[in-house]
Subunit: 464 residues, 2 copies
């Protein structure tokens, strides 16, 4: 009988606790869907400011705007964290054509890759060698590459359901293609855009020269998927066609910029820090609505939703709007560095940097004990059609915190449309749906609530 | 030892069977994503034909086009099933304004509801009484309604995660508002569009007069959500404002149209029929890409994918492109009627009529035994991020088959954006994503494969 009583009491307590959680999460979703602020903020970031490349006037405007908005929210502290960022400038619009016979040309849409050097002012014109990836370079050798433009044309694999996996399978061409092709004497590099659709938008993105000496760096540009198909078909008909491209982008000295940070101080464990964030910088072609305006405004709304719901976090809840994810990750690295210097105790970090689409779940980068804990919360999310709890991966900006042994997570929205817009001129506000954006913010806020309420299982720090 | 051997053999068999299923489903998805036909078909239906209201030239063109395409697929049989359908015609564009003072007017976007009568040729101008639903009419009574325009302004509930539930909570205003308001002497009815966004698109949809005598029928139109907000705010400031609207839509005599049907004959149980379908008709404002061009082309692609994958269905697999779902359901009713007349044995029917968005799962309308069976297949769909198996609901067109005791199912795509486009001028091709559409077709084909392979548990016929 005693046991039975105990069981009854236990069940009652458990039920109450679960009911409290259900109620709190319902309140968060209701607020997000009826009085969310994320969409209005995104409207301003996208339509009043626009693309926010690190070091640009727009990036600074975004710092000022989000700081002002956070200041108005009655949080415990709002501040800017200085960080030096690279400043790369696209210059005048790029220009390219395929020349099938002397004077017979077809223009194709290209965009310089972020970090690329310019072409000579008269452009580059050369024969083209098409490859299916970096590994083809060695097979072809210097003889077939020297003096030519290398055309990396491996498409994203359409059969992968998670389009981020398709992206991972191609992006080495964009990031390292120029550095690798230069070793074989290529004059320049053209990369098929990381896009699953056939369209006319070239998609930019970061590239690096590694240890290639400055005088051996060759220019690199992305070509639209339709342009890539045309170039490939043309080459099959006539391997002797030439390609011309011209770009006058430039890398300047680093400039000072900022991570924008705000926090609600924890009532019980103020030294335990939970971070939610996205990155404030974007590429310059569109207005960066999905990448990562969405993550920025969702993260800001997490704090607003938690506060407006009347929940008082036991732990310190901090929003970090990271600068320079796209071409340097300086903001993420700087934030982690300062945290280490100050001996801050980060227990949790959650990033939204996969677009403002319908949220499907989370990825968790954590040990077994924490995975067991978070897995139990899955049922709390099912009424909101959040079904996907997967292990591995979180977000680029919070990655540098990993060695501090915290629980890392990433919001996982539906990925089907993401690469239609990613880093291209059509990453714009009208492609973000208000409800989908708000559901993402509510999903993040609900996880933050649960983490705060139940704490995390201490994990081993990876180093220092 | 004997038991152990038996268990081992059993497990081996089970594993092999599951592996076969996994392989077959993977093949279906791969084909859909690399060589799907659905998007091309939809392009034709949407951009070469356009809106396909029952009885229109475009509806007939859609019958001809889909029949020709099915004819070219090498199926066992393709035919047209005649059905008489209503022919309602919108006429010249509707026109409406709010008049705050004599001569001071603001135009607002409206669209006649399908089936509505016209206004007098000079339009209707009257004071407005705003209500929050049909139940308000009785409270107000004839005194406050007679001689006025009733403005039904209950919005869709934004806090429901499944937007079809929000729609269900409002659509009685559109369907029955005019018939109910007429009882209290209203002159006409304006209904807030069934749309969760604030924008300028009025959304049409079917309405009915029930047993209202012909001479007492009043015209009904939908107003855009922005228009509804404006009208409501204006009424709050001045309850004496007048509203003017004019529409010259007309109901003609029924005309002959067709369900388009094609089948692959079953190898082992040809008399057991599995149906996949969508509806060929659409509203006239947009091109009906999501509602229900998507369902039509996905259903057609199910047969193509099954055939191309080399799988030979044991049961007869039939695609039915139903006519007149939007304003009569004549196609669905006719199909079920003929099936009964011919004593056909339908074991399964699956409809796609919820938009061409990322598939999230299925709804199943079936008994416990079949629910247990299909629930076991959930893990087979999880690699494709199909997580939602719910009970209840399938599709309007296949509903009339229900009394034949078959397993009914509906494809459940992500619903967040659906009502942004539903029945409005922006239900157009560019809002359908190719991959999302293809994933839906593959998801349907995979379920058809499993149903065919494992059969269904016989259910009790409801009647007849």
């Amino acid at each position: 009988m005693k046991n039975f009583l105990w069981l009854t009491l236990f069940c009652a307590t458990t039920l109450t606790s679960q009911q409290t959680d259900e109620k709190q999460i319902r309140a968060i979703y209701d607020m997000a869907l009826t009085e969310g602020k994320a969409y209005d903020w995104l409207n301003y970031l996208s339509n009043q400011i626009g693309g926010r490349l690190s070091g640009s006037v727009q990036a600074q405007q975004a710092v000022d705007y989000t700081r002002t908005q956070l200041d108005s929210m009655g949080l415990d502290r709002v501040w800017l964290q200085p960080v030096m960022v690279p400043k790369w400038v696209r210059g005048t619009p790029e220009f390219a054509y395929i020349e099938t016979r002397p004077g017979i040309t077809t223009n194709v849409p290209i965009t310089a890759l972020g970090g690329s050097v310019a072409t000579p002012s008269s452009g580059i014109k050369a024969n083209v060698v098409e490859v299916n990836g970096i590994e083809d370079l060695e097979l072809l050798g210097q003889e077939k590459i020297k003096g030519k433009i290398v055309f990396f044309n491996r498409p994203m694999d359409p059969t992968l359901i998670n389009t981020f996996q398709s992206y991972s399978g191609c992006v080495d061409q964009r990031y390292s293609g120029a550095a690798e092709a230069a070793k074989y004497g290529a004059l320049g590099v053209i990369v098929r855009s990381m896009n699953l659709r056939l369209d006319d938008y070239p998609h930019t993105g970061s590239m690096g020269y590694g240890d290639t000496p400055v005088n051996q760096r060759i220019p690199a540009a992305a070509i639209s998927t339709n342009g890539a198909e045309l170039l490939s078909t043309t080459l099959q008909l006539n391997p002797e066609v030439t390609f011309y491209f011209k770009q006058n982008c430039k890398q300047y000295e680093d400039v000072e910029s900022y991570n924008v940070i705000a926090e609600i101080r924890g009532t019980t464990y103020p030294s335990e820090i939970m971070v939610v964030g996205g990155h404030l910088d974007s590429w310059d072609l569109g207005d960066g609505s999905h990448d990562d305006g969405a993550g920025v405004v969702q993260s800001m709304d997490v704090l607003r939703l938690i506060k407006a719901s009347g929940y008082k976090p036991q732990r310190t809840l901090r929003v970090v709007l990271f600068m320079n994810e796209e071409n340097g990750l300086r903001g993420g690295n700087r934030y982690a560095e300062v945290a280490r210097q100050k001996n801050e105790n980060h227990v949790f970090a959650l990033e939204s940097d996969a677009g403002g689409f319908t949220p499907r779940g989370f990825s968790f980068d954590c040990d077994d004990a924490n995975w067991t804990m978070v897995s139990k919360w899955k049922t709390l999310f099912e009424p909101y059609l959040i079904h996907q709890f997967v292990r591995g991966g979180s977000g680029a900006d919070i990655g540098p915190l990993k060695d501090q042994g915290l629980l890392l997570a990433g919001l996982r929205p539906d990925s089907q449309r993401y690469f239609d817009h990613h880093h291209a001129a059509n990453d714009t506000f009208e492609h973000v749906n208000k409800r989908e954006l708000e559901l993402g913010a509510a999903t993040m806020a609900s996880l933050v609530y649960l983490i705060d309420k139940y704490g995390v299982v201490p994990q081993q720090k990876i180093k220092g």
